[in-house]
Amino acid sequence: MWIQALLLAVIAVVLIVFVRRWYGVRMQAGKRIAFFAFLAVNAWAVVRPNDVTWMANRLGVGRGADLVLYLLVAGFALATLNTYLRFRELDRRFTDLTRTLAIREAELVNRERGLLESQHEHPAVLPGQQH
């Protein structure tokens, strides 16, 4: 049945995007085109519900509502993936920011503790610090 091929194709796309590092301008544009296509199909389905049923039958699905449900699941998977990748990118930036701040702060604190300037002066093992 066509619907199975279609849904399997969506799963394959999700997997590929997940594992490979497709990012950047083309991906961005692709997502936007997909979004507008999605809106257009929505509008069409609202105006002419029977067309959805016709389409469902052509794809081997009994009812139009079922087709909508299947596509919703596929769309949800893609949206989730998109959010996940976005979060990772945010996480990366957050890490960079935090690291920069942590190191700057540490340099001040460790200088106050007398560790940074006297670094080359104190002996390898201070008396009383032996384990």
């Binding site: 990772r88 942590a102 190191i103 540490a106 560790l115 080359h120 201070l126």
Partner: protein, 227 residues
């Protein structure tokens, strides 16, 4: 110049107040320069470190061991005079003697990255489930295979400055170990593996990598965006 003044030991710390002061003291008998990265611990780890002569860097929030390692390396690399960089676990499972031996190997020019392995010498001492997980991770990461490494997830490593400068750890969680290996392989850094002894105390066992963590590692690695 005192011995090992050109070595920096990086210790990522997360909720290790019970042992961290002893570990630092132990390391400092051999290596004077220690930087502990407190990864947003909720216990008194940072205070314990502050009471020692180790450098302390504090993450204001918990970001994961990989992030802590990179922070420690960045901090240590910014100190002039550092030529060798050691990564060392905070839970006391590594031996300072092993680290000293590995630094010697790096000093002799044997390799730019010296990695500790639990499996070269004493595979029997590693608990069976853990051995299985670690083997699986090795088998599934192509770079580990190419370098013929036996243990991709050992926290004890010695890097020369050029090798350490090449690293960009982006895996904040536990997948960073595979990421380090993969970046070293990609940059064609000469790597050797040496047997090290791990003390599996009850304490370190409770903090080590579980089977569940293995799943997380594989997931993180499969979805990374940049190799």
């Amino acid at each position: 110049m005192p011995e090992n003044e050109d070595v920096w030991v990086v210790i990522p710390v997360f909720n290790e107040e019970r042992v961290i002061a002893d570990v630092v003291a132990d390391v400092r008998t051999t290596f004077p320069n220690v930087v502990c990265v407190d990864d947003g611990s909720r216990d008194g780890s940072a205070e314990r470190v502050a009471a020692t002569r180790a450098h302390l860097v504090r993450h204001p929030v918990n970001m994961g061991q990989g992030a802590a390692l990179q922070t420690g390396l960045s901090y240590a690399l910014a100190r002039s005079g550092g030529k060798y960089f050691v990564t060392f676990d905070a839970d006391g499972q590594h031996q300072v003697e092993d680290a000293r031996r590995m630094v010697e190997i790096a000093r002799q020019g044997g390799a730019d990255a010296v990695l500790g392995s639990r499996f070269l010498d004493q595979p029997r001492k590693v608990p069976a489930v853990k051995r299985l997980v670690l083997r699986a991770v090795v088998a599934l990461s192509p770079n580990t295979r190419r370098l013929r490494l036996t243990d991709a997830h050992n926290g004890l490593r010695v890097l020369t400055r050029p090798a350490a400068e090449r690293l960009r750890i982006t895996m904040n969680g536990m997948a960073h170990a595979s990421e380090i290996v993969s970046q070293l392989a990609k940059a064609r850094v000469p790597v050797v593996e040496v047997p090290v002894t791990i003390l599996y105390t009850e304490y370190s066992m409770s903090k080590g990598q579980s089977l569940i963590n293995g799943v997380n590692i594989l997931f993180d690695l499969s979805v990374r965006q940049r190799g």
